[in-house]
């Protein structure tokens, strides 16, 4: 029997969670070690700068070309897949997508689902949705399995359990699976293998994500190292793939550079162990593979980002995770601080379109704008530029008609009034001098508590003499 899997509720805001994460030495060590290693692996995988830059440019052009024709490509994909025997479904919201998935499972009277790694299914919170309907939905990627077993969410899109070390996993397996504790990573993986193999055998339905959906041939391409993706898409009688509408590319050849960029940027591998290209359900003369294949195309705010030519670039993303691996903020606060499905720089620019800025008001500003994310992005998304744009949208007044979902979440009349005052002060010489006169004489009356600044700094005290004054005095003394 399946039971509802309790997911640890995240408390507090981004700031509150960040404070907690920064004080957690174990967490910080786990992330620091992992990110350093991932950065090195990526660097080693791109030894030739010219080759890398040429490929990134090509990757950017391929995604931009696909997006410039995306409605046509989605229709072409649907036509080809349908001709291949795959049933295509469309969902505007995660609720709709869940209903579709549930109805497919229900039609088969399924009670057990195994899932390959899929971030879109995380967006949908599919595990919880199905568990509430008495359907067990089990993660089969080792990292996702560990995280699910502990009632957590992934903290990295490629390495979901990166926040845990072997001892924590060992204790978890001991507590939940009743096995002996072991510090041997190989043995831990073999425990996972044995447990999950039985689940692959029993499953009524397999769910997976999609890395690239190829319109030309009607093909769903998945990359992975473990083989759980192949298991989920091959062993159960039904396969349901869920993906975002931005994953479609025009031609089969387009995936050659994208694949190379993806695996090298994500893990520093020339290729993943498996590249799994699925073009249809089992044919009459074939002996395995699912009898039914479904594709659920999910919008969930993507068309909102698409509506704006600048923000549209967010949808170039191929989900490699390089931006988070290189992010100084992510490395320090960890994935869970972001509180949403996609953490790190890509999370900061995609999540507002999905859940609205009201829910993630600190996302655009949780960045030092150091630019590392933009520099490593394999499809050249100008992430810092997107963050700055979202900061603007975040403080727009309703009259300024923000272009992002729940834009103006941080709009404040008081802040606006202060800036208006500051602007008029600096554009009127008379008022400016008057202010300066006052500030230099009554500086001691300056406020001692100026918001977040004084949490970590002493309050600014105006100088006794202004720069104007000093300059005048200096010139009056003549050349010395």
């Amino acid at each position: 029997m399946s039971q509802r899997i309790p997911v640890k509720e995240l408390t507090d805001s981004f700031r509150g969670r960040a404070v907690g994460a920064l004080a957690d030495d174990q967490l910080r060590t786990n992330f620091r070690v992992a990110m350093d290693s991932l950065m090195k692996k990526r660097a080693d995988a791109f030894p030739d700068e010219e080759e890398r830059e040429g490929l990134r440019e090509l990757g950017n052009h391929i995604k931009a070309r696909a997006l410039s024709r995306v409605p046509d490509l989605l229709e072409q994909l649907e036509t080809r897949l349908t001709a291949n025997g795959v049933k295509v479904h469309w969902a505007e919201t995660t609720e709709e997508a869940n209903r579709i998935v549930h109805s497919i499972i229900e039609a088969k009277q399924g009670s057990q689902v195994v899932k390959g790694k899929s971030m879109v299914s995380e967006e949908m919170e599919m595990n919880d949705y199905l568990a509430e309907r008495n359907i067990e939905c089990l993660e089969s990627d080792m990292g996702e399995y560990i995280v699910q077993l502990d009632g957590e969410k992934p903290s990295h899109i490629i390495m979901p359990a990166i926040h845990k070390n072997r001892f924590q996993v060992s204790r978890l397996f001991h507590d939940k699976l009743g096995v002996d504790e072991t510090e041997d990573v190989n043995e831990l993986i073999q425990i996972g293998r044995r447990t999950l193999r039985q689940k692959f055998l029993e499953a009524d339905v397999g769910v997976s994500g999609v890395n690239f959906a190829i319109a030309e041939t009607g093909t769903l391409l998945l990359v992975e190292n473990e083989g759980n993706g192949r298991m989920s898409t091959t062993a159960p009688p039904v396969h349901i793939a869920v993906t975002g509408i931005e994953k479609v590319v025009e031609n089969l050849r387009d995936v050659v550079p994208l694949l190379s960029l993806l695996t090298r940027s994500a893990l520093g591998q020339p290729i993943t162990t498996y590249v799994n290209m699925i073009s249809g359900p089992r044919k009459a003369d074939e002996l395995d593979g699912p009898e039914e294949v479904h594709l659920v195309l999910l919008d969930n705010g993507r068309s909102g980002a698409f509506a704006d030519a600048q923000l549209r670039q967010t949808l170039n993303c191929i989900r490699c995770g390089a931006c988070m691996n290189h992010c100084p903020v992510y490395t320090r606060v960890g994935g869970h601080t972001y509180g949403e499905v996609y953490p790190g720089p890509i999370g900061k620019i995609i999540t507002p379109h999905m859940v609205g800025l009201h829910k993630v008001p600190d996302h655009p500003s949780a960045s030092s704008l150091c630019g590392a994310c933009g520099e490593v992005c394999p499809v050249k998304i100008p992430i810092p530029e997107m963050l700055q744009r979202l900061r603007q949208e975040n403080v727009k007044s309703p009259a300024e008609q923000p272009k992002v979902k729940d834009g103006g979440a941080k709009y404040s009349r008081k802040e606006r009034a202060i800036w208006r005052f500051w602007a008029s002060l600096n554009t009127s010489p008379v008022i400016y001098r008057l202010f300066l006169w006052g500030a230099t004489r009554f500086g001691k009356l300056a406020p001692k508590n100026v918001g977040p600044w004084t949490e970590n700094h002493s309050a600014p005290v105006p100088a006794r003499r202004s720069l104007h004054d000093l300059a005048k005095a200096h010139l009056n003394q003549g050349d010395r």
Partner: protein
């Protein structure tokens, strides 16, 4: 209005007044850095695959069936799944008749549903063909069909793959073009670049996650 038309309408509205970007795909970017002299192709493939724990042997067409026997016997395996309907399957069966080795030959001759439990837990090894290899990334290309179904290269803990030396291409792009993949793909086309692995715990590499724990590639020299 359906979700489909809502989504497509929104996307179309976003593109109003724009023209599609040109197709400026430069194939040189994915071929030029990945070209090898014929004698270097196998070396490159070998070194990449061996780096991820693949066992590789270069053999003649006559030798390989006895190598399969040796691989199985040295590991003390009970059985091996093979495809009697293929050329290489016939050669293997002939060798088995002559040498009468201990491991039993199994055939994937019925739908998965009829022997799922056995295939998941009881089959020790499999021998499959490939339609080629890719030097740039150290990959095998598998084209599963009725004779060699999809799970045959996934479930048994030991997968032995046969690769003809003459069918190794420089890079994925070349492979795709040469065999005109875009004209028609099988239900499932696979690139396999080593045994199953994971680095999900502390980034420590562990082999045999869900698929084969061992991948052995027998590279067959022509003649």
């Amino acid at each position: 209005m359906s979700a489909r038309s809502n989504i497509l309408n929104k996307l179309r509205a976003g593109l109003a007044g724009t023209t599609p970007r040109p197709d400026d795909f430069d194939e040189g970017l994915v071929t030029r850095p990945w070209q090898y002299a014929p004698e270097d192709r196998i070396t490159r493939l070998r070194s990449l695959m061996e780096a991820v724990h693949t066992e590789i042997h270069q053999l003649t067409t006559e030798e390989w069936p006895s190598k399969v026997q040796e691989l199985l016997e040295s590991r003390g395996l009970k059985n091996v799944l093979y495809a009697p309907g293929t050329e290489h399957g016939k050669l293997l069966a002939e060798h088995w008749q002559r040498a009468e080795p201990r491991p039993e030959l199994l055939v994937y001759d019925r739908p998965i549903e009829e022997w799922k439990e056995e295939l998941f837990w009881q089959v020790d090894a499999s021998v499959t063909g490939t339609v080629g290899g890719i030097a740039a990334t150290g990959s095998l290309v598998l084209w599963p069909d009725r004779h060699e179904p999809r799970l045959m290269s996934l479930l048994p803990p030991l997968h032995i793959a046969l690769l003809k030396a003459s069918e190794v291409e420089d890079n994925l792009y070349g492979m795709m073009q040469k065999h005109n993949w875009s004209a028609g793909l099988p239900t499932n086309l696979l690139l396999v670049s080593g045994p199953s692995k994971t680095a999900d715990i502390e980034q420590v590499l562990a082999y045999g996650a869900h698929g084969p724990k061992e991948l052995v590639v027998l590279i067959l020299e022509d003649g």
